[in-house]
């Protein structure tokens, strides 16, 4: 796995301005037809994401953050504007950019090993087995290789899906509220594991969430979207080194800043 380290600086460092742009969203707008009326969902989105950067898209439900992610991944054609990856316009889904759904995206008819090896059809049998084993270990599912998803917990299924994505060695990963269906303890554990994987493999990650704490714990930058039609309201740099102290003054300051940004006071 040496190739995944290409282009990255020392592990754990936030990509600097010198790092090349991986993904660029230009004047992107998306509208849906509903009852014959064109409903704008996203308007005038401009965003640059650097290679190896971890960016969270944050916003209230229905603001179009998932739509934006789907457009970046090539599942949706934008109504206006475009998405560029490595300077090339995105025309459709591509194995170099893998989309991770909530754990619902795991294939229930395949074993854990079958799922993780799903995208490795071009490799030889031994090569595939080796790669599968590597990622089984990385996500801590040793001993469950021949289990079926319905025999696993939600957190384990999510690990399978992350491993399935990592196994094809993509440059970019799109995660759409990947931990949304998990209990809060599992969610915390999974965040830690995702950060470790990110630091080891240096993927560019775009992560959709509606959880402010999750965004501040994970991201280099948090993109705050406004309510529908979604626009970029603000981009917050999270200048905290990993591992992050979630009771530090700076953490709380950043979190409260974003809370205020989405129009909430930090009192209930």
């Amino acid at each position: 796995m040496t190739s995944v380290l290409a282009g990255s600086s020392a592990a754990g460092a936030v990509p600097s301005a010198a790092t090349p742009i991986k993904l660029r969203v230009e004047n992107l707008g998306i509208s849906f037809q509903r009852d014959g009326v064109l409903m704008p969902v996203l308007g005038d989105i401009n965003l640059e994401v650097r290679d190896g950067e971890f960016v969270c898209l944050l916003g209230p439900s229905g603001c179009g953050k998932s739509t934006l992610l789907n457009a970046m991944a090539g599942f949706l054609q934008p109504t206006s504007g475009q998405v560029l990856v490595d300077g090339e316009a995105v025309r459709g889904p591509d194995p170099r950019r893998i989309f991770v759904f909530q754990e619902r995206g795991v294939f229930p008819w395949l074993t854990v090993a079958g799922n993780i090896g799903f995208g490795l059809g071009k490799l030889s049998r031994e090569e595939r087995a080796k790669r599968v084993q590597h990622y089984v270990q990385m996500v801590g599912l040793e001993g469950f290789e021949s289990s079926y998803p319905h025999e696993l917990s939600g957190g384990m299924k999510q690990r399978v899906e992350v491993a399935r994505a990592l196994a094809v060695n993509p440059d970019v990963m799109f995660l759409d509220e990947p931990f949304g269906a998990l209990d809060s303890i599992t969610r915390m554990i999974m965040r830690g594991e995702l950060l470790q994987i990110w630091q080891a493999e240096r993927k560019t990650i775009l992560f959709v969430t509606h959880d402010i704490d999750e965004a501040v714990q994970l991201a280099d930058r948090v993109v705050v979207l406004s309510a529908r039609p979604g626009r970029i309201q603000r981009i917050v740099n999270v200048d905290l080194p990993h591992p992050r102290d979630i009771s530090s003054a700076r953490y709380l300051e950043l979190r409260d800043g974003i809370l205020a940004e989405v129009g909430l006071a930090h009192r209930i």
Binding site: P93, F99, R104, F107, W109, L110, G119
Partner: protein, 260 residues
């Protein structure tokens, strides 16, 4: 195994057996008390069937019926699944063909008997064709349904990993739809077994359906009529039970509710 689970295990068998015994007793006494001379008692049915079995006729009839169902059914599976997958995959094609299917589907295969004889003459092929018709439409329709029920995220995941459209169909859509398709296949097998009896009453000179009509026509042997009916029921149950076993194999098990 503890005491309660052993009792529960026994009860699973005990009550159905008891119900069957009660049913046979009721039948027996109903025949006795009504004084009927035509309708047979369970004992008479058993004697009649074992006579037939000794002459080897019964065995041949069963095999003939099963063979006709097997050929007609597998032809329906072989044509129905690919067609159903295709129509499910291309909604435009489905919309085009759907009216024709919806008109043909409610026509009982029995209504096709004259047409079947016209096409194939009196013989095996006509009966097999009727089984085929009975099984074909449910298979096509459940396949179309099953494919359109496959969650979009599975298809997206498939194409995200670089699969071509035929690969997505084979490696994602088909396995995702398989549990629902199996339900349709099971229903279709039941229909095929229903239809073969009707077909054999008219189109051929062997099989359990023929046994029923022949026993009635040649000497009002109602012991054999009822015996053949019971055999049809028992074999139908056995076919269904065998099919149900498929539901517990691992790659489709997720699609069925299993209490374990």
């Amino acid at each position: 195994m503890n005491q309660t689970s052993r009792i529960q295990d026994m009860e699973r068998w005990l009550w159905p057996i008891l119900a069957t015994v009660v049913f046979l007793l009721l039948w027996h006494f109903a025949v006795l008390w009504s004084g009927t001379r035509i309708f047979p008692s369970p004992r008479e049915v058993e004697v009649g069937l074992s006579q037939l079995a000794q002459r080897g006729v019964l065995y041949r009839d069963i095999i003939d019926s099963l063979r006709r169902v097997a050929i007609g059914y597998f032809a329906a599976v072989g044509l129905g699944i690919p067609l159903g997958l295709l129509l499910g995959w291309y909604p435009a094609a489905d919309q085009t063909v759907n009216p024709v299917i919806q008109i043909l589907r409610p026509i009982s295969p029995i209504a096709w008997i004259p047409v079947a004889i016209l096409f194939f003459g009196v013989g095996d092929d006509a009966a097999i064709f009727l089984v085929f018709l009975g099984a074909f439409f449910p298979i096509v329709i459940t396949c179309v349904d099953a494919v359109s029920n496959v969650p979009l995220i599975y298809r997206r995941a498939g194409s995200n990993f670089g699969l071509t459209a035929p690969q997505v169909l084979a490696r994602v859509v088909f396995p995702a739809a398989l549990p629902q398709i199996l339900v349709g296949l099971r229903i279709a097998l039941g229909i095929g077994w229903l239809v073969v009896v009707a077909g054999e009453m008219i189109a051929v000179n062997s099989g359990l359906g023929y046994l029923i009509i022949d026993s009635r026509n040649s000497g009002k042997r109602y012991d054999l009529v009822v015996g053949a009916m019971l055999l049809i029921g028992i074999i139908g149950l056995a076919l269904d039970a065998i099919f149900r076993r498929l539901e517990s194999i691992k790659p489709v098990r997720w699609g069925f509710r299993h209490e374990s």
